[in-house]
Point group: C2
Chain length 283, copies 2
């Protein structure tokens, strides 16, 4: 078997185009504010990317660039001003923060109704309880979108999610459970990973280790989603999946780059648009 | 192999006694308020039971008994008064509510710092994110206590949790993941339950079907936790586990009654005491 290589770039362009068309008809455009603290070259690329995508669909984009030495109070005050400003629909705090700032002190300060990343406790709790949060974290939401676009039925499927982060693994597990899949949440302390992944219909790798998921860890025809974005010594971006061997055994696979990554940004744009609609009473 | 039958009653008495001794030294006693709406005979037994346990450890216990026809506004106002009253440390809304009242409209109105059941969105979100909620739902917390008392190591264990409720299955999964276990969250739509439960070191049944978990669904020496409380036609209480056959194959088993049930109430008392300490700045 040779897997279908899922074109995340294409799916994301389609979603962004749909939003762009809807935004053209709006008198007041949605506005996304990104807060970036300090100098982190990877973050700078991500922030610029988000800004560009927001502008491409016709949003207003604001980047609040704060210096490395920003104090806790200064960052809190920046967030609060954006919360209060009715022209701002979505607020994103770019992570990681400089070491002297603890992200936990800030994520919950973003108003839940402007929390485009869906990271704050209220939105996380709603998702956990199977209720409707204002926003769902972008990467898990993007992965669900891939399943939807590829018409991959989730109900009754056994899915191993490798990695238990608050950004990917945990919210993704909650979403897949809501879709009636049976989720195995594996992580660095899992002892029998191969046994579990091999009986799974779908394996999702979000571990941050290049080539971590090997061909002998999946069953023939499995669906493999690669959430990893790892940079090798030459600066080349690789995923968590040993693509060249797994592509010959899986039925579907997402590549890196152009797999899950573009969906994450598309979902950020989608979340901003959804929050805009809620705030304007258009839902 | 014959399983050790875990005596939940005994563990719970031990915990309640420890709290009782601590409460004797307090000038102001912790106060638990239980709100009970309408006439539900099972609920009445539960409420009386909670009240009795609270009194036994020296707490003040208040039961707000509201009539079946209580309106949404009346219930909200009852909750708000208890939130504002500094003499009340824990508030519990007994479920189920009468049909015209939706529990989702009320659970989040209990102040997170008085939410002894740990059901509100803030506390659920904290738990989900692996942070520290004010209170953890009582049944999952009681099950962790059983593992602790029986010195059952969770790290690296494969655990199938059957049932994905917000009260048991989901918070329990989050807690077990935090303890470095690998959790398989199974439910009514799971197709290969037997395959999954049979490779699990621990199986926890929270499905509400008498005798649901059969001997051929577990491996030799597995640890089996029975969360079920089912009433058969004669009014006899049974669990979700086919006890008589599984007891011969498992290494540990909780019976019904006198297994998980008493721990649930002990954890309610423990949560009230913890909230009291937080409110009094004794933590």
């Amino acid at each position: 078997m040779t897997a279908k290589i899922i074109n995340g770039k294409e799916i994301s362009e389609k979603i962004l185009n749909e939003i762009k068309i809807k935004v053209e008809n709006l008198d007041i455009k949605p506005t996304l504010a990104v807060i970036s603290v300090g100098n982190n070259s990877a973050s700078e690329i991500y922030v610029r990317n988000k800004e560009n995508r927001a502008k491409e669909v016709g949003f207003n984009s604001i980047v609040k660039k704060l210096p490395e030495e920003t104090s806790k109070d200064e960052l809190l005050s920046t967030i609060e001003k954006l919360n209060q400003n009715p022209d701002i629909n979505g607020i994103l705090l770019q992570l990681p923060l400089p070491k002297h700032l603890n992200e936990k002190d800030f994520l919950d300060k973003i108003s839940p109704i402007k929390d485009v990343d869906g990271f704050n406790t209220y939105n996380a709790g709603k998702l956990f309880k199977g209720e409707t949060p204002y926003a769902i974290p972008c990467t898990p939401k993007g992965i669900l979108k891939i399943f939807e676009e590829e018409k991959i039925e989730l109900e009754g499927k056994t899915i191993t999610v490798i990695g238990r982060s608050n950004i990917v693994g945990k919210p993704l597990s909650a979403l897949l459970t809501m879709k009636n899949a049976t989720v195995i949440l594996a992580h660095s302390k899992t002892k029998n990973l191969k046994e579990l992944s091999k009986i799974s219909d779908i394996v999702i790798a979000a571990v941050g280790k290049s080539g971590f998921l090997k061909e002998d860890m999946i069953k023939e025809g499995a669906i493999v989603i690669d959430v990893g974005i790892n940079r090798d010594n030459d600066g080349k971006i690789t995923g968590d999946v040993d693509f060249d061997t797994i592509v010959k055994k899986a039925s579907f696979i997402t590549p890196v780059p152009k797999g899950v990554g573009p969906l994450t940004i598309a979902m950020l744009i989608s979340n901003t648009y959804e929050l805009y609609k809620i705030q304007k009473g258009l839902e």
